[in-house]
Point group: C2
Chain length 545, copies 2
């Protein structure tokens, strides 16, 4: 292995580099969790040698550490992507991760979708969940007008947060209300549950009946409003970020209190949370001059929040479900006449679960090139066999699945021949013309973009496994298809006993042999297989961290 000048790792901070060692001793290969404590690294840690290396067919840099002799191999692509620099981490819960808006900005592009499409089409669901993170809300239409349905909406992206109002709450006029929400009064823009800590970060409101005159909803982007305040009156902004305000709620069975600023910022000063609810603010106790400054700033912000251009008006119709970020958006409603019925059901949930659901949905997007291969170049022909390449691979995957193989082997079987297509060109034709296209190696390299060695290595070795089985298993060669017998010669022929012994000693040999057998069986022109999409959830679960 060629020695490298230490330039390859430049002046990378030593503890940072070691903390990111990807070896199986430092990081659990299954969970990605770190297996050592930062304090357990030796004092005086330093780089002893640096060398060029290869990992899973990709260039890497190997570092040997002093004084403990530990060896770390960093993929060069990882070093490039994570090179120190830049402004640090963007906390996507702050304004830095949002699209701030005024009502006009959303004209004609309300983030809305039909419930059935949201449920049935991952792309629609991803677009909607992304809207909640980016603009702070989504509106689902045509949600069945059933009591309790709002909980089912929450369960599409996370977990319901139960509160003193129950798992769900009814918003309608009540005879003995414990909250103004349960009257017909107008309610100015506010965030909910400011007296809870942690505050519920998402709110859902599902409209069952809205026959009342009035009772329209309004939304204000609290992050946008806070940013506006910072521009127009920086001192008021500062006061509101640093004054904890007591928020209180009390009834027969509940007594909640949280002391939090109206505008919460992260350590870098970005707006991260708005709490605004006049109904629940308690008595502030501060020196008189601090009270004067606070109240002036509070009033300025309250007036700003009422500017009509900031307020997006929408009227919830039966079947509409509004989902919004309760740490960012303020919601309001107009008063309504009590002679028309109005009934919403609401519940709370949390942003972290929603962001996770979106991230998992997006994993499938990253597999789009594979889906295209199955739908495009893979459908044309399969090199002398009576099935297309896509049919062949789907059969192999389905056979592995039917055999109860673990997911990584189902994936390897499903994807073992992707190396026959490069940039939409079926290089497998070269193989049939007598030149080995080394498709097992090409395929393993392609797949390493998405999967770890548990998937790529059986793919890399599936051709070697044919050469091996011909050497060690009587009758195996005779059962091969004519095309397979032909390519065997191009690919190096039957292994010698020494080669076979060497192959059998490889850690991935057994897996490769298993994949090879599904490969050999997967040439039935009459077989019916599930489509590629059937395997997507399993494949996304195998994606590298």
């Amino acid at each position: 292995m060629p020695a490298l000048s230490s330039d390859a790792i430049g002046d990378l901070p030593v503890l940072w580099l070691r903390d990111n060692c990807p070896c199986a001793q430092c990081r659990d290969p299954r969970t990605g969790q770190k297996l050592f404590q930062i304090d357990a690294l030796p004092d005086g840690l330093r780089v002893a040698t640096v060398a060029a290396a290869e990992r899973a067919g990709e260039p890497a840099v190997e570092v040997v550490w002093a004084p403990d002799g530990h060896c770390s191999a960093y993929p060069s692509a990882w070093l490039e992507a994570n090179r120190p620099g830049g402004p640090g981490h963007r906390d996507r819960r702050t304004e830095a991760g949002k699209e701030l808006w005024t009502a006009r900005d959303l004209a004609g592009r309300l983030p809305e979708a039909d419930w059935e499409a949201y449920l049935g089409e991952p792309a629609v669901r991803a677009r909607m969940l992304e809207s909640v993170l980016r603009v702070g809300f989504m509106v689902l239409r045509g949600v069945p007008e059933r009591e309790g349905q709002v909980l089912a909406v929450a369960e599409t992206f996370g977990y319901v947060r139960e509160t003193n109002y129950g798992k769900l709450f009814d918003v309608r006029v009540e005879p003995d209300p414990n909250n103004l929400a349960f009257t017909s009064a107008a309610i100015a823009p506010h965030t909910d549950n400011p007296y809870r800590d942690p505050v519920p970060t998402l709110q859902l409101l599902h409209c069952l009946v809205n026959e009342a005159d009035g009772g329209d909803s309004g939304l204000v982007d609290g992050f946008g409003a806070a940013a506006l305040l910072r521009r127009e009156d920086p001192e008021a902004f500062e006061v509101l970020t640093r004054t904890p305000v007591p928020f209180v709620f009390r009834d027969a069975g509940t007594e909640l209190r949280a002391d939090r600023p109206l505008i919460g910022t992260d350590p870098l000063g970005h707006v991260r949370e708005v709490r605004f609810n006049n109904r629940s603010s308690g008595t502030l106790r501060l020196p008189a001059d601090a009270l004067e400054s606070f109240y002036a700033a509070y009033r300025t912000f309250a007036k700003l929040l009422l500017r009509p251009e900031l307020r997006l008006d929408l009227r919830l119709a039966p079947g509409d479900c509004l989902v919004f970020d309760n740490t960012r958006l303020l919601h309001a409603r107009t008063a309504f006449a009590q002679d028309g019925e109005r009934h919403l059901q609401g519940c709370y949930a949390d942003l972290d679960g929603l962001a996770s659901a979106l991230a998992v949905l997006r994993r499938a997007d990253t597999l789009e090139p594979l889906a295209e291969l199955f739908a495009g170049a893979g459908t044309t022909e399969y090199l002398g066999e009576p099935v297309s390449m896509a049919q062949h691979m789907l059969q192999a995957g389905a056979r592995a699945e039917a055999a109860g193989a673990p997911p990584h082997l189902v994936a390897a079987a499903l994807l073992h021949d992707v190396g026959h297509v490069e940039d939409d060109v079926v290089t497998g034709r070269e193989l049939m013309a007598g030149t080995d296209n080394r498709h097992s190696h090409t395929g393993a390299g392609m797949l390493s973009r998405w999967f770890g060695p548990e998937v790529t290595e059986p793919v890399r070795l599936h051709v070697a496994a044919k050469r091996y089985l011909c050497a060690v298993e009587p009758g195996y060669h005779d059962r091969l298809s004519e095309a397979s017998k032909y390519t065997l010669a191009v690919q190096g022929g039957v292994m010698t006993p020494a080669q076979a012994a060497e192959f059998a000693a490889l850690p991935g040999a057994a897996d490769a042999v298993a994949v090879r057998r599904w490969d050999d069986e997967a040439k039935d022109p009459d077989a019916v297989t599930p489509p590629f999409e059937h395997f997507l959830p399993m494949l996304t679960a195998l994606l590298r961290g």
Copy 2:
């Protein structure tokens, strides 16, 4: 009403004072919620006149406002208690509201209780919940070793927070673990779920089996450790409070990420949250010099957290349930031999619900003087009647309850004669000796410490109601007991028609008459009544905010 110099309100900030107006127009008397927006107050708000006044028998200051003419009456006691000044609100979730500890500090005073006592005795439950808020944890012993029981523990003080690990999770060795927790490895002090935002603020661990060699638990006060770091290495402390660290978790169905500092502070710089979990920390991206500073500080804090004097060791035995503040305490476990079974069940919940449960429990404490009256001075005699005063009042309360009266009237009936006892002296004897002790007024005054006018006014008027009923209801006087007929004269005799008309016009007259009738009936020496404690939940629910 005498005019006061504006000195009575000194230089109180005008908007603050008005924002705290207690009138029914400004604040919902049932919920205590504010009914106006701060921006809706007129510009140029100022105090026009100040006058001495009385509210519910207590001295007050009446303010008439310009330019809108609104009138606010502030109880003098409220003005005194809330006078501006001092350091502002103590956010009790920060170190400012905690007792920081090292292991030695808790020697011999572990916050622990027996499950049955915790369930059955409100004082034990209050002491335990208070421990979680103050020192960060409690240990319940003898919790039934049933699967799922940990959820029942959480429900004694709040709501379970469901996560990707489920409503509850099993901590035992698993064949294919998605987390190191589910192996037999040692785990260094850490907080859970750092990749969640909001992070679950409470964790419960209930031991079902612990026959393993090893597998002991350890707790470290993260707030104490952070405070120690601030003293020993202020620069490292600063770096850790202002560097967002990516925490990540990923498995087949989950992809969570939170960018938060290891030490979170409130706007005033108090430690509010510790996140420390080497297993889940992702790759930091910062300029190289910032990475150097961060890693040096990170390592310093990690080493500090391992100091033996900070770590409280405890071994969970079957039936033990540990409940701890996951924003403050780090927990750890030693490795264990796989041949002995170890099985814990855990779940998450939140601090706000626990603090609410404690506050509601404490309301009952505030009623202790009334409980003492019923158990002490009230049991001796009742002024010429064949029952004790306590029996008499319990009968009145029970009759009101049986009649389906609303809670405030049950309370008024139950407490209508408390004014006969002052500082353990039965002043009622003066009444029998011919001097009116004005017990209805004294009683209303005493009760105003706890209850609003809906309870105190019927008490104040219950003697007047007798004089009234004698005037307007034929036969009423004849049905009175001899003692009641005697005291009628001392108390002013039968009302004149003019007095009766005046009484009937009072807003509380009907309630007072109702209380009076239960009073008159409640002199049965053979009646069996529930004890005072029966009424406690209802009374605590009526307590003033």
